[in-house]
């Protein structure tokens, strides 16, 4: 009842403002909040043995086509659980085309990847291990390799009760391991739970800017600091695509594989983001708002990694984002209306930075486990 009333009054305000011109009031966005425990799907409960197995598989290169890379190759704990490059390295003989995102707190997202193409960590693991410019693995080979490792046979049997390892279970174990990679004890979380000393005065001022003048909270809201929605903010192109033939190959391949029209395939050189999922023009150039947690360790930033530092990111938003690449191509602006020049001065930028830094806690570093070798089967 109360909720209904609130909605009515909000609509009223919006209506009133609309009458007077552009809507300038802040939307009713979810409050910032400390992060709770991650949701655990009922069909993949967490057990210590499963998590341990998942950790091994996460580091095991045998779950890719030519046994050269593992999940950890592009999600390296020493690189903020991304790979620290602007555009992810990809499979040998190729380059990837987007920035690899951190796995820290990935457990909370309802969809994975920059365009939300995956609905669960389990599905994401499979997609990443199979894609031609990522893992390029096929089920037959990846699963058969597991049959040849007695330690895995034993552990899969213990965790899943199967006679031989099943690849679907491998993705489940990896997802379970990833659900342990969460960070909930940042200065920000402590502050939100009542420890007023957890944030410096500067960071507190940054928080006010975040919610107010800079209005980051429009999209970066809730405990995860993301609306999990898709926006075009006009990220500039990464010059690496003009310099590396492998990236040009991959860019065309991705468009081809994602089933765009021939005209788009032949002419469009900007990543169309959510459009590849929906094939709706109004979704062109939109990418899922990333969480701001663990930000200190996850440079570079944006879907194409074009910004190497947080300062560059703040400057970008201070200018109201970038030019709309879609408008240039299709005379259809999909750029979000939410971005306006912010007119932040250096002190304010510094304060905002201090707040953003409070969203990261201790660096989570994990030594890779010693992996079991293949064995001759009797």
């Amino acid at each position: 009842m109360k909720k209904v009333l609130r909605n009515i009054s909000l609509s009223l305000i919006i209506a009133l403002v609309l009458v007077g011109g552009k809507p300038v009031v802040a939307e009713d966005v979810p409050e910032l909040a400390p992060l709770g425990p991650p949701p655990i799907p009922t069909d993949n409960p967490m057990t210590p043995a499963k998590i341990e197995l998942g950790k091994m598989l996460f580091f095991d290169t045998r779950l890719t086509g030519d046994a050269s890379l593992s999940c950890a190759s592009c999600h390296d704990s020493k690189a903020g659980w991304g790979d620290a490059s602007d555009v992810c390295r990809g499979y040998p003989g190729t380059s990837h085309w987007r920035n690899c995102q951190t796995i820290i707190n990935a457990a909370y997202y309802n969809k994975l990847f920059w365009a939300g193409s995956s609905r669960s960590l389990e599905a994401q693991a499979e997609t990443a291990n199979r894609g031609a410019v990522a893992g390029n693995g096929e089920r037959d080979m990846m699963e058969a390799r597991l049959y040849q490792i007695p330690e895995y046979i034993k552990r899969f049997k213990q965790v899943f009760g199967t006679e031989y390892p099943n690849l679907k279970d491998a993705w489940r174990a990896i997802a379970a391991f990833e659900r342990t990679l969460v960070q909930r004890d940042t200065p920000f979380d402590r502050y939100m739970k009542g420890d007023k000393a957890a944030l410096s005065e500067k960071a507190k001022k940054g928080l006010e800017l975040f919610k107010g003048k800079a209005n980051c909270i429009q999209c970066h809201n809730g405990p995860l600091l993301t609306d999990e929605k898709y926006h075009n903010i006009g990220v500039p192109e990464n010059p690496a695509f003009e310099e590396d033939p492998l990236k040009q190959i991959t860019f065309r391949y991705e468009q081809y594989a994602k089933g765009v029209t021939e005209e788009i395939y032949r002419t469009t050189k900007t990543d169309l983001g959510l459009y590849y999922q929906t094939k709706r023009k109004e979704d062109m150039g939109k990418f899922r708002t990333p969480s701001l947690r663990y930000l200190n360790y996850t440079a570079p930033y944006m879907h194409n990694g074009v910004f190497f530092t947080l300062e560059e990111v703040i400057d970008f938003y201070n200018e109201g984002g970038g030019d709309d690449p879609i408008e240039k191509l299709y005379r259809l602006s999909t750029k979000t209306e939410k971005l306006k020049p912010l007119n932040l001065n250096d002190e304010e930028k510094g304060a905002l930075m201090a707040f953003l830094e409070s969203l990261t806690g201790e660096e989570i570093i994990l030594a890779p486990p010693e992996l079991p070798d293949y064995a001759v089967m009797k």
Binding site: P239, A367, D373
Partner: protein
């Protein structure tokens, strides 16, 4: 306005670092020497132990250590580059007789550490009968940016690339086909450096007399700084200590 920002970011990426190096070759009379040793105290961090699970005939079996801090019996720290910081003129650059080469042999990069001036040609050689995929990155803070990345399947193949970092000095070399392979290039535009020997000792000579900031860089342990004054034809000593 937005365009300005974007192009500024672009300029930062492209233009700044490709400025010509300021190093000038001059005759050095009364050149001095700097010698010393780099030592390591304490317990070296554990390297990653990576299982070899492909190309075993060439790469070997068992586990490979990656990112090892190698210390000699006498405590000398290996794989360190010692160099004079910011020296603007002096003796000519010295290029190795066969040019700069990065060999891929038995699924390792050789040499593990080498110093190369900006814009030099580097020959990437595959001595193995298996695919290697050299992938070089310049390190910029926590970020790494691809310099070049190519598959090299043919034994004996040589591919020449130019070392062209934009903002950084440290180039990390990985093989996308073998996840234990690791190598490093340190980019310096002058000849006043020394890659330490197996016992951690170094010698830099032909130094114009003066006082210098000296740096020691180790790929895993980072940078230490020292200071040295050298007099005409003299030899100064300097030691570096890394600890963990």
């Amino acid at each position: 306005m937005i365009r300005i920002i974007a192009s500024f970011a672009l300029a930062a990426v492209i233009l700044l670092p490709d400025l010509p190096s300021a190093y000038q070759t001059v005759d050095v009379v009364d050149g001095a020497s700097l010698t010393g040793k780099v030592v390591f105290k304490g317990k070296a961090p554990e390297p990653e132990k990576i299982l070899i699970n492909k190309n075993k005939e060439v790469c070997g079996t068992g586990y490979r250590k990656k990112g090892e801090v190698r210390v000699s019996a006498s405590g000398g720290l290996m794989d360190v580059v010692v160099y004079l910081e910011g020296i603007k003129k002096g003796k000519p650059l010295s290029k190795p007789a066969g040019g700069y080469v990065l060999d891929q042999k038995n699924c390792s990069f050789l040499p593990y550490v080498q110093v190369i001036p900006r814009r030099s040609k580097l020959v990437v050689l595959n001595s193995d009968p298996v695919l290697h995929n050299v992938h070089t990155y310049e390190l910029i803070g926590r970020v790494k940016r691809t310099m070049f990345n190519f598959a090299q399947p043919v034994q004996g193949s040589k591919i020449t690339k130019t070392i062209r970092p934009r903002r950084g000095k440290v180039v990390k070399i990985e093989c996308d086909a073998h996840n234990w392979m690791l190598g490093w290039i340190y980019v310096l535009d002058h000849p006043y450096f020394s890659v330490v020997g197996e016992d951690g000792t170094f010698k830099i000579d032909g130094i114009p007399p003066g006082t210098y900031k000296v740096k020691a860089w180790h790929p895993i342990l980072g940078i230490k700084e020292g200071k040295a004054s050298v007099s005409a034809k003299g030899t100064a000593r300097l030691s570096f200590e890394f600890a963990k």
